[in-house]
Symmetry: C2
Subunit: 188 residues, 2 copies
Amino acid sequence: MDGVRSDVKVVESPRRVRISDAFLRLFALAFTLVAAVVVGVSKETEIVPITITPSLPTLHLQFTAKWQYMSAFVYFLVSNAIACSYAAASLVYSLAVSSSFNQDAVVLVLSILDLVIMALLFSANGAAAAIGVIGRDGNSHVQWRKVCDMFGGFCHHFTAALVLSLIGSSAFLLLVAFAVLGLHKKPK
Amino acid sequence: MDGVRSDVKVVESPRRVRISDAFLRLFALAFTLVAAVVVGVSKETEIVPITITPSLPTLHLQFTAKWQYMSAFVYFLVSNAIACSYAAASLVYSLAVSSSFNQDAVVLVLSILDLVIMALLFSANGAAAAIGVIGRDGNSHVQWRKVCDMFGGFCHHFTAALVLSLIGSSAFLLLVAFAVLGLHKKPK
C-alpha cells in the first residue's frame, strides 16, 4: 500500500505545479504586454508660453515627451517586450511538451530562463522608477528640474506601466519560487 | 548493490551543492559590502569659477557630490547593505544547520530569500545605472545637464561600485540557479 501511495504523489505534484505555472506565464505575458504597449503609445506634446521680457511678445514653444527620448524608458520598453515574448514562447512550449518524456529537463531550463528574465525586468523597473522619481520631484543638487508638472499625462501613463511591469515581474518571481517549491517536493 | 549506490548519491549531491553555496554567499557578501562602502565613502567637492559679466569679478562657487543627494543612490547603498547583511547571516545560518535534521527546509527558505534579495539588488542596479547614464551624458530633451565632467572622481567610484554590485547580484542569481539545479537532481 505504501508503494501505491508514493506513486500517486509523484503524478500529482508536477500536475499541480504545471497548472499554476501556465496561469502565471499567462499573467506575466498579459501584464508585461500591456506595460510595453502603454509606454509605447504614450506621447504628449505641450505648448509652453515663454516670456523673455515684458516688451517682447510671448513665445510659444512646443515640447514633446516620448519614450525614445530617455534611455531608461527604452530599456524598460525593450525589457518588457522581451519578457512578454518569452512568456508567450515558454507558455506554448511548456504546454506542448507537457506529456513529453523529458519534462524534468524542460522545467529546469524554463526555471533558469525565468530567473534571467526576472533579473532583466527588475533592473528595468528600477531604472524607470529612478528616472520617474527625478521627473516627478526634480533634483536641486544637480539642477535637474521636474518635468511631470508639464507632462502630467505622460507621467501618469508611465506610472501605470511601471505598476503593471512590477506585477509582471512578481509573476516571474513566483514562477521561480514555485519551481523551487515544486522541485523540492520530492516523493517520500 | 543498487540500493547502496543510490544512498551514496543522496549524500553526495547536497554536499557538493553546499560547498558552492557557501562560496557564493561569501562572494556575494564581499562584493556587496565593497560596493556599499565605495558609494558610502565617495564624496567630491569642486570649486567652480562662474563669470556673470566680464566687468564683475569671477565668482567661485562650491559644489559637492554625495550619495545622499540622489534617492537612487540611497536605494543602491541600502540595497547593497541589506544584501551584504543577509549574505553574512545566511552563510552563518546555513553552515550552522549543515548537520541539522531539517536541512531541506533551510535550503528552501534560503533559496526563496536569495530570490527576493536578488530582485532587490537588480532593481537597485537598474536605478543607479539609469541615473549614472544621465550623469555621464545628460539629456537634452528634459534639459538635465551631465555632471560627470565636473565630478569625474565621484562618477568613477560609482561606476566601480555598480560593477561590484552587479557581480554580487550575479552571485545571488547563481545561488538560486544552483538551488534549482541541486534540488532537481533527485536520486534516481
